[in-house]
Amino acid sequence: MLLVDIVSGVFIFVGCLFVFGGAVGLIRMPDFYTRLHAASVTDTGGLLFITIGLVLQAAFVFDNPAAAIKLTLTIIFLFFTAPTASHAVAKAALMANITPQCQNGKSVVDESLNSLYSDKGKDLSAVLMPVDPPEIMSNFAESKAESELNNKDKST
């Protein structure tokens, strides 16, 4: 019993450090993408450690295996959804022309991409998504029509 308490206490302490560090990073970081990094990575890691500690407590101290299973489900689910949500936020911010910042205060995208693409407004999204999805769709439709024609030729 005592060993379980110590081990889960260590896990929960490490998780608390992660979560608190992430919250401080979210306040202190200078730029949206650094804030995203601080928040998302530490949220996932802190959640993992805290939930491992809680699973140990639920299984061995509270003697409640159902709660342990549900906590494990929560870990698995959040390990899929938290990075996906962070990725979606980052992609939406890039699409809204929020550019990452260098240490000297200039924008990374301005330095590296704008030398290649002069127009700043619309072309940034064209750089980030090189192939237009509607183009893919029309290519797909054309290739499908061609293959259907070929099939007809073979059948006749």
Binding site: C16, A23, K70, T74, V89
Partner: protein
């Protein structure tokens, strides 16, 4: 142990909500709200253990599901201005 966990999470929740109120852009606020949702999931589970009722993890699991859907829905609404669109207008295709 659970009391310390709850206090730390409440403090970080306050810090995160400060960022949600200050945030210069919409995406900062959205990131802070998403992060606060994850912290609330942990808080609900930890509070259940603190009061000796670990069955609270049901609510935590449900809150994790809702939090993810809410973030994606808000992002989609602000990116396309519509929750039902497939991402591209019909005349584009």
């Amino acid at each position: 142990m659970f009391l310390v966990l709850v206090i730390v999470i409440v403090i970080s929740l306050i810090l995160v909500m400060v960022r949600a109120l200050l945030g210069p852009t919409l995406y900062d606020r959205l990131l802070a709200v998403n992060s606060a949702g994850t912290k609330v999931v942990i808080l609900i589970a930890a509070y259940g253990f603190l009061t000796g009722r670990p069955d609270f993890v049901d609510i935590a699991l449900l809150y994790a599901l809702i939090n993810y859907i809410a973030t994606i829905a808000v992002l989609k609404f602000f990116e396309y201005g519509d929750l039902g669109s497939g991402g591209y207008q019909e005349d584009d295709l």
